[in-house]
């Protein structure tokens, strides 16, 4: 039989039947249903198992606070664990499965834990499982881990996409219930730019679940009219199915828009959009959340919160049972009995713990005042309840109301501390809501609907006025006032029966008591010791009840007991939604060099450096190992000529009358007297004396310099230079601009590099050795007038140049040079060959400039000028940095040239030990920072740091790599392995 509990009416579309499955059973519901309402319509009450004791559990609430009805939705890679059925909009083909049980849901093998529960109370695990020592990791913990957890994560890549977005408004209104809609109407009519967001896919909040009439029409109709009015206004953005999950600094709100049901239609669209909303002000109208009462076996399927029972009836036209009972401590519980009765549902009893006169008569129901429910029966579905007066009543649905807690979560995201309000027996927001946030309606503790409407109405207008808009001339909607009276009820003595406080985490009133007894008295200690409020609902339904129990245990007030801290997110948010588009290749953007297309055509292998994709090497047909390609590139460059794209190096044009003075302050060496047309190598330190970056700077005109930085530090060096200029020496006439992307720059290296360049440089420019010597720089033209910059600098140690042309010509220049170089057997080389040649020449790079090394450590102490102040000068002179036994950079070569050749790894990362020393921290003398196979020397070589290295050349030590199992003897040598005199540079 289908939907046996479905009644007439409700805000569902009975013309659209939706088919879904639950644990493989095919079921039907209607458009407008949630998964929970459709399950209840089909009389499915048992929907899950609890975390610790695997107790049978049913749907408790109608909202995002649901602790029990959490399920796996979908299958395969689409499976989404721990999804609350109460907020999952029903769609065709939805697959839902209950979780956290072994065997069928109705007969969970893990329910055995419930039997042992006396031993498994709060904190039991801190007191045992300690013997034997090794058993924790091998036996106990795996067993605990397997039985813990809830749903199962599909261990496949999330197949959905997510997006982000940015929205601005004057006023963000959170919650589209009676107060939220009222606030939106006045704020919008004032002219303010408004965003109205609600976590429900249907705006209206509780109005959709209640029978109260507003302005003479049903609440849901009034809400619909208001939404229609707002959606027609240009200054209003409505965001349904959107949860404001966090309040961040200065009016930034995190909002998750759920588009799951939309994406079923067109699965290419993002499943969710994570909006960052910038709001000048916000009005929180998030309503209230009902709490339970702690009585014996209050957790059986069929026991629900009274407001939820009413929602299922009024909004979804679903009766939660055939014989309903109501247990309450406040007037609002009675409304459930009244509404059910009005729909023809049998209400057998209303039990009110207060000793007052009945709030109203309920036809056909027994009324018990000053009475409590103390026990229940029915393992998989409620069968009966037992009252404190000894009566047992048969019932299949118990609606419980312990009162309503203002939903003040978001007011506490900046560490606001809720205050206790005795009138409503709950916590209300304090005055420390995040700046810019105001609260209205039940979220503020205003429990009477008519007052809540007025409050929202007034606040919408006054906040808009604060922002300079006119006052709204609308009148507030009205509804008859219904009083809300309550007497707190934190639970009733229930003997041996357990009274559950946190349903999902299986925390009972006794657990709270035991924690208090063991000295855990702070609310935070109790939470951490018992796990109260740590489940997927973060205590939304449980915490106030738990605090009430604590306060009673310890004989203190609610205020003294206090609350734990509300933290974002308001309700759980998929990790994927925070990542947004940043997945795979889109983790961050990609930068391509000017020669990228050409390199792709050559079959280059690329490597990512920062965000740049650079050619690592260019394999030729027949080469099977990267080393073959790299060795060839090195040998061919050193014997004739090679070309490498070095565009990625940072390039900064610096202009002004004070540039040379400025450079003097940022480099260790002197730049004041650098002549026009010359380039100089410069080393830059941090203020603490450690090397920061190095590069060359050329003077192209009296007041025009161009600096290069390493690829990795291009951005941070530019920032540092701006700091030095704007903050330290603001009056220097210096103007910097990055020209990294303005020029495509290539290194042309090797004995034939000049010959190659002579073919493309326009003939009026003399680039002969005499006319354009080592370290010369000039602005020239190439290929018939294309402007270019030429620098005679060398990283490879060969006769070499760097040539730069406007980037638009970059691809073309590469092709032209390869064509012009054919006669010299020109070779393109990648970053690997570049690295090999720099190590052969002993140039420090990233692994040496690792932020732990000073100019002295790098063997560049001689460059350091003592005649001027520069960044890093003074602190570089500190005693510990000047010790001769600091680790200094030198070269290392194996005593036995064949060492490591068959191992397939270099010396990099090996530590340095004396020939007969044991590998201990005390004996550690240093390490190898960079190492490669040198095709020129025919063996592995390395740069590294060893104590007092500069004075130990010629000594033998061991390079020990215990990680990969090598231990070789090496000679400490000069880092300049190749052409140490530098003759080739100047040819």
């Amino acid at each position: 039989m289908s939907q046996i509990n479905r009644k007439d009416g409700g805000l569902i579309n009975k013309d659209k039947t939706i088919t879904f499955t639950f644990n493989g059973h095919i079921l039907r519901g209607y458009e407008g249903d949630t998964l929970a309402s459709a399950l209840l319509a089909n009389d499915k009450h048992l929907v899950g198992r609890s975390f610790k004791y695997h107790r049978p559990r049913g749907i408790v609430t109608v909202g995002s606070e649901e602790p029990n009805a959490i399920m796996e939705i979908g299958s395969g890679a689409y499976k989404e664990p721990n999804t609350r059925a109460t907020v999952t909009q029903l769609y065709n083909g939805l697959e839902a499965n209950s979780q956290n049980h072994r065997g069928p849901l109705g007969f969970d093998l893990m329910a055995i834990t419930d039997f042992f529960s006396p031993m498994l109370g709060a904190g039991f695990y801190y007191k045992t499982f300690m013997w034997p020592k090794a058993f924790w990791e091998k036996i106990y913990e795996p067993a605990i881990r397997n039985s813990a957890g809830l749903g199962t994560l599909a261990k496949q890549p999330d197949p959905d996409t997510y997006d982000k977005g940015f929205r601005y408004c004057d006023i963000l209104i959170i919650g589209a219930g009676a107060s939220g809609l009222s606030a939106a109407l006045t704020a919008a009519s004032s002219g303010a730019k408004v965003i109205l967001a609600d976590e429900d896919f249907l705006m209206g909040g509780r109005l959709n679940s209640e029978t109260a009439k507003i302005d003479g029409i049903s609440g849901s109709e009034w809400a619909k009219n208001a939404v229609d009015k707002l959606s027609a206004m240009d200054n209003v953005t409505l965001m349904a199915d959107t949860t404001i999950f966090g309040v961040y600094d200065h009016g930034i709100y995190g909002a998750l828009e759920n588009r799951s049901s939309e994406s079923r239609e067109d699965s290419k669209k993002p499943r969710q959009v994570n909006w960052r909303i910038y709001a000048k002000r916000s009005i929180l109208c998030a309503g209230a959340i009902e709490r339970s009462i702690a009585f014996g076996n209050n957790d059986r399927p069929g026991i629900m919160l009274a407001g939820a029972v009413r929602s299922y009836m009024n909004r979804f036209a679903v009766a939660t049972g055939q014989k309903v009972t109501v247990y309450t401590n406040n007037d609002d519980g009675w409304q459930t009995a009244k509404d059910l009765r009005a729909k023809g549902v049998k209400v057998v009893a209303v039990i009110d713990s207060r000793s007052i006169s009945p709030v109203m008569g309920i036809q056909g129901a027994e009324i018990f005042m000053g009475t409590d429910v103390i026990d229940t029966k029915g393992r998989r579905r409620l069968k009966s309840i037992k009252l404190s007066n000894g009566r047992t009543i048969d019932t299949d649905s118990l609606a419980v109301s312990g009162g309503w807690n203002p939903n003040l979560h978001l007011t506490c995201h900046h560490r606001g501390i809720p205050k206790w309000n005795e009138d409503i027996a709950s916590f209300v927001p304090d005055d420390k809501a995040p700046p810019g946030m105001s609260v209205a309606g039940r979220a503020k503790g205003t429990m009477v609907l008519n007052d809540a409407i007025k409050e929202g109405h007034d606040l919408g207008s006054s906040v808009a006025q604060d922002l300079g808009y006119k006052a709204s001339d609308l009148e507030p909607a009205t509804t008859p006032s219904v009083a809300y009276n309550i007497v707190a009820n934190w639970g009733v003595p229930s003997g041996k029966n357990r009274a559950w406080v946190d349903f999902q985490n299986d925390v009972t009133a006794k657990d709270v008591k035991l924690a208090n007894q063991e000295g855990f008295k702070s609310v935070e200690h109790v939470k951490r010791y018992t796990t109260l409020g740590m489940a997927t609902d973060q205590g939304k339904t449980a915490n106030v009840l738990g605090i009430g129990i604590m306060a009673e245990n310890m004989g203190q007030t609610m205020e003294e007991t206090g609350t734990t801290i509300f933290r974002p997110p308001y309700s759980p948010v998929a990790v994927g939604a925070f990542a947004g588009r940043r997945r795979g290749m889109e983790f961050y953007p990609t930068r391509y060099t000017p020669s990228h297309k050409w390199s792709e055509e050559q079959g280059a292998v690329f490597v990512e450096v920062g965000m740049w994709y650079r050619s690592q090497w260019f394999p030729q047909p027949g080469e099977t190992h990267w080393r073959q390609s790299v060795d060839r590139e090195v040998i061919q460059t050193r014997s004739s000529v090679g070309i490498c794209d070095v565009t990625t190096l940072g390039k900064i044009d610096i202009k002004g009358s004070d540039v040379s003075e400025f450079l003097n302050k940022v480099y260790v060496n002197a730049f004041a007297k650098l002549p026009v047309g010359k380039t100089r190598y410069g080393l830059m330190l941090r203020e603490d004396g450690m090397a920061m970056d190095d590069g060359t700077t050329a003077r192209l005109a009296e007041d025009h310099f161009v600096m290069t930085t390493t690829t990795a530090n291009a951005v941070s060096v530019y920032r540092h230079l701006q700091f030095c200029h704007q903050v330290l020496w603001p009056d220097l006439d210096v103007h910097m601009i990055s020209v990294t992307e303005q020029y495509a720059q290539y290194a042309v290296a090797g004995p034939n590099s000049r010959k190659l360049l002579e073919k493309i440089v326009d003939p009026e420019h003399d680039i002969s050795n005499e006319g354009f010597p080592f370290m010369a720089a000039a602005e020239i033209s190439v290929c018939g007038g294309v402007p270019a910059r030429l620098f005679r600098i060398s990283f490879s140690g060969e006769l070499a140049y760097e040539i730069a042309v406007p980037t638009r010509y970059g691809d073309s220049l590469m092709r032209v040079m390869m064509e012009a170089g054919k006669e010299f057997n020109v070779v393109p080389y990648g970053t690997e060959a570049l690295g090999v040649m720099r190590i052969e020449k002993g140039h420090a790079a990233g692994p040496e400039l690792n932020g732990q090394t000073s100019a002295y450590d790098l063997g560049m102490g001689g460059m350091v000028s003592g005649k001027k102040d520069f960044i890093g000068y003074k602190l570089g002179l500190r005693e510990e940095l000047q010790r001769s036994d600091r680790m200094q950079m030198v070269g290392f070569k194996p005593v036995n040239k064949g060492d490591l050749v068959d191992k397939g790894h270099s010396m990099a990362g090996a530590h340095l030990l004396g020939l007969r020393d044991e590998p201990t921290t005390e004996n550690d003398q240093g390490w190898i920072s960079s190492s490669i196979y040198s095709p020129m020397l025919g063996c592995y070589i390395g740069l590294g740091f060893i104590k007092d290295g500069l004075n130990r050349k010629g000594e033998f030590v061991r390079a020990v790599d215990l990680v990969r199992g090598s231990d070789i003897e090496v000679e400490i040598c000069s880092p300049h392995f190749y052409d140490p005199e530098g003759g080739r540079l100047r040819e």
Binding site: A77, P81, P118, M119, G121, Y126, K127, T128, F129, W131, W136, E137, E141, R145, G149, T152, L153, A154, P157, D158, D160, Y162, G246, H413, R415, K510, Q517, G519, F520, S522, E524, T531, T536, Q538, P568, P569, P572, V575, G576, F578, A579, R583, F587, V607, E687, D688, M690, P847, G851, Q852, E880, Q882, G909, A910, P919, T921, N923, D924, V963, R964
Partner: protein, 420 residues
Amino acid sequence: MSKTRYSAFKVVKEALTGHKGWEPTWRDAEPKADGYDVIIVGGGGHGLSTAYYLAKNHGITNVAVLEKGWIGGGNVGRNTTIIRSNYLLPGNEPFYELSMQLWENLEQDLNYNAMVSQRGIMNLIHSDAQRDAFIRRGNAMLFADAGCEYIEAKEVKERYPFLDMDNPRFPIKAALAQPRGGTVRHDAVAWGYARGASDLGVDIIQNCEVTGFNIENGKCLGVQTSKGEIKAGRVAVCVAGSSGRVMAKAGIKLPIESHVLQAFVTEGLKPVMDNVITFGAGHFYCSQSDKGGLVFGGDIDGYNTYAQRGNLPVVEDVCSGGMAIMPSIGRARLLRMWGGIMDMSMDGSPFIDSTEVEELFFNGGWCYGGFKATPASGYCYAHLLATNHSHEVASAYKLDRFRRGAIIDEKGVGAQPNLH
């Protein structure tokens, strides 16, 4: 030592007799009128372990631990629970290795199950340069007997099939693991040390905020608190993120800035991963708690703050890091995010030292690495307080090291705390 010895037998017995026999885990004390030999300011993990080791190793039991709020409420109660001793520099590695050894025997020592779980920690390697750096680190670890394991990509894939081995940005080329690393139930560390110290006679005084120091002629004689003045032979400050605020009351400025580090936990899930995985290239590390939540974190927010909350950019960065290495995490929901205040030092390494004020000592600058250091920090601080000498593994942690240039900068980013 303990009044109530914990055991499986005791748990069963109490279960059968209605749990009436459980006593408070630690004694809630009020300040003694005649003061203490040592007052420890700060009832976090480090303060409580200092008290425990002072009593246990050095027999100094006339000790009070003063806590502004509730014990264990600072970083020991809000971290990602990771322990490891995979450090690079000789100033650090032996210290963290001592800490690891203390973890390994902690539960038997304390008779308290803090769930020390050496499930292993694995750092993923994505580039050749990173490999070289990790080999250097791995060798430093092996030299210090901390143990490590180099895992080739193929094996990483076999062990952790949910990792994205071929990510176009961060292909996993290998991993460096420390099998002895793992996780510990963080709150239980505070409670276990509190119980141990309390049983040995230490007074644990909660809701007792230190508002000033009584200093005369350059010597500290006691503290002023919200519960009145308390005399002390020696005062040992140990307040992590509050270091700046508290030491300012003694007129001392530090090479420390306070920053917020956010941490995250997902909803509970059936077992996904059994170890700790660290993705250095993208700022993400993750493990799964015994309750099933994936616990993860990344970088600090990067601005000075004492507010225990962070902002969205880091949340998004961290989650992106997660998606980059384990793209199945996308459908796990983030349940809670929180922030702890880190005492970020100028070189990323801590201090355990005396100060310019006689009888006033300082322990701090732990950055975001304080949790794993808890046992050794207390052990070495107690050693210093009891003997006036630095313990040999903590001898580099001097306050004047920057004046001398004896920097311990693992990351090599210099005197900028938010980069460590």
